[in-house]
């Protein structure tokens, strides 16, 4: 990196290099800060919950009862995902089905046209 910078420096104004370095550092800083917050927040919430009613926590988080190992769920989710990505999205899936059920004849598309266009403008 340093070597790189030395090479670049002959071509580049140093303010640019500083902008790049500072910029990259700050992007890190902001996500590190977020990381730090969200490492702490659950501890605080958990601490609060432990002190509060046990039931509350249960209400919030029924997971333990229905817990499924992550791998299983991942597999399920993948199956779901592949299924969904085949249909592009739920909505377009629905529309595709409609469309198929409508193209039973050379005329069908016009029925659709009529239905749509009678609401026109």
């Amino acid at each position: 990196m340093i070597a790189n910078i030395t090479i670049l420096k002959s071509y580049l104004p140093s303010e640019a290099i500083i902008i790049a370095i500072v910029g990259y550092l700050v992007v890190f800083a902001s996500l590190v800060l977020l990381f730090w917050f969200f490492s702490i927040i659950p501890k605080i919430l958990y601490y609060k919950n432990r002190k509060g009613s046990k039931q509350y926590q249960g209400g919030r988080n029924e997971a333990p009862d229905h817990y499924l190992p992550g791998e299983t769920v991942a597999a399920i989710s993948m199956a779901l995902h592949l299924h969904l990505s085949e249909l592009h999205d739920e909505e377009s899936g629905v529309l595709t089905i409609k469309k198929v059920s409508k193209t039973y004849s050379p005329w069908s598309s016009k029925i659709y046209a009529v239905r749509n266009q009678f609401n026109r403008k």
Binding site: W107, S109, K110, Y112, A113, V114, R120, K121
Partner: protein, 432 residues
């Protein structure tokens, strides 16, 4: 009781605030000194009742009762008539109800003497209606409506029998003859072009063209276009009867062929390039129409097409209808010009209907018996989608209850939309 104490404490607190922050309370009087409230001239009279009456009088000056003219009342009645026709007879209610409400709103009389701008009227700078009218004046709403129309129109009837497109071209004769007629009646070239487009039987196209070349006529042109579009079931049948023989009206047409999805995808792309290369000024209208259709037919962007043909077109329709209606403010609208425009509009719808029918008959001269056209479908070439196609269907059924012309009429019907947008583009490039 607790609350009573709260009230008292708030009042006390506010009193303290008052004396601490504003040691001299005359800030009020000074500030109001330069405002134009003049009804306290006889403040010295010291009679509160009398001054109150003066206040009421002053107020009365601002009411609609005081500022109303016969024109306002006439226009409000017209607005109510539009709403009545739309609700009672279902004439294009999606347009006539917003326009009717807009006519009423645009003709509520308000005080505007001495150039006082209360920011109420659609032509007053800073009023809400004026901001919403911007999209009409700059021609922004019509292309957005075309986007939605494209996203809801199925062009397969056209694709399956492209020669029916020519009927959509033929009916545009109404545009050009009306253009000449308006000129002959004394309108200037640009005004005549905008008036001519009423014959295109397509509201957004008419608004778009007039916003570009005759802004001061947007109101009457738009109202005429939409009124006659709503009245198509009344205007067209007599012309159709006059121009066709019984035998012609009974011609049966063969069913169209199937259209593949590839053709449907190609149509908006080819259509966009071909029509706008010929008439680049039609780009805002035809570009959007075909873009919307591509969103629909691509099968990959269903959610965009869905939004374009529902919430997007609805929002624009509400705003367009309302502001076009409101633009009929009596003092700007009730002129001899508006009346002439209405007369010309009626004529142009009749001429356009006749033009489509005649051209269908001409085409039949060059067509083998088996592929003859029923000339009635030529009447659908005026556009006014889909009402004129419905009129053709119903008229055909009267002659022969088993002869369904609806599907055949849809082709010239949508071609008429393209045709009038091209015509608008040409007029624009000659007259801008």
């Amino acid at each position: 009781m607790k609350k009573f104490i709260t009230v008292v404490s708030i009042i006390l607190l506010l009193s303290i605030v008052r004396t601490v922050i504003f040691p001299s309370a005359d800030r009020t009087l000074q500030a109001s000194g330069d405002q134009e409230i003049e009804f306290v001239a006889d403040d010295s009279g010291d009679d509160l009742l009398k001054t109150s009456i003066n206040g009421l009088k002053q107020f009365f000056k601002f009411t609609g009762f005081r500022n109303a003219t016969a024109g306002h009342i006439i226009m409000i009645l017209v607005g109510i008539l539009f709403i009545f026709l739309a609700i009672k007879y279902d004439y294009e209610p999606l347009l006539l109800i917003p326009i009717g409400a807009g006519i009423i709103m645009g003709n509520i009389p308000f005080f505007q003497e001495g150039g006082l701008n209360l920011q109420v009227g659609i032509y007053q700078e800073g009023s809400v209606m004026n901001y919403l009218y911007f999209g009409v004046m700059k021609g922004v709403y019509p292309p957005l409506i075309f986007l939605g129309i494209g996203a809801m129109t199925d062009f397969s009837s056209l694709i399956s029998r492209p020669r029916l497109m020519l009927l959509g071209a033929a009916a545009q004769v109404g545009i050009f003859l009306t253009f000449l007629g308006a000129l002959w009646l004394g309108f200037d070239l640009r005004e005549s072009g905008a008036i001519g487009i009423i014959g295109g039987a397509d509201g957004p196209t008419a608004i778009f063209l007039s916003s570009r070349i005759a802004e001061h006529l947007i109101g009457p042109i738009a109202i005429a276009a939409y009124s006659y579009m709503a009245l198509v079931p009344v205007i067209q049948p007599p012309i159709m009867r006059l121009m066709t023989t019984k035998k012609e009206r009974r011609i049966r047409m063969s069913p169209p062929r199937a259209v593949s999805q590839t053709e449907k995808i190609l149509f908006p792309i080819v259509g966009l390039i071909v029509t706008t290369f010929i008439s680049p000024s039609s780009l805002p209208l035809l570009g959007m129409l075909f873009f919307g259709n591509l969103l629909k037919e691509s099968t990959r962007t269903k959610r965009l097409a869905e939004t374009a043909r529902t919430s997007m077109i609805d929002i624009v329709t509400i705003l367009l209808g309302l502001t076009v209606g409101a633009s009929t403010q009596a003092d700007k609208f009730l002129t001899a010009d508006s009346l002439i425009i209405f007369g010309l509009g009626a004529l142009s719808f009749m001429v356009a209907t006749a033009g489509g029918i005649v051209f269908a008959k001409v085409m039949n001269l060059f067509t083998p018996e088996s592929r003859k056209l029923n000339p009635l479908i030529g009447a659908a070439g005026v556009s006014a989608v889909p009402d004129s196609a419905r009129v053709v269907q119903n008229f055909g059924l009267k002659e022969d209850p088993t002869n369904h012309l609806l599907m055949h009429a849809m082709a010239p019907n949508v071609a008429g939309v393209i045709g009038s947008a091209v015509a608008a583009g040409i007029l624009l490039s000659f007259l801008i």
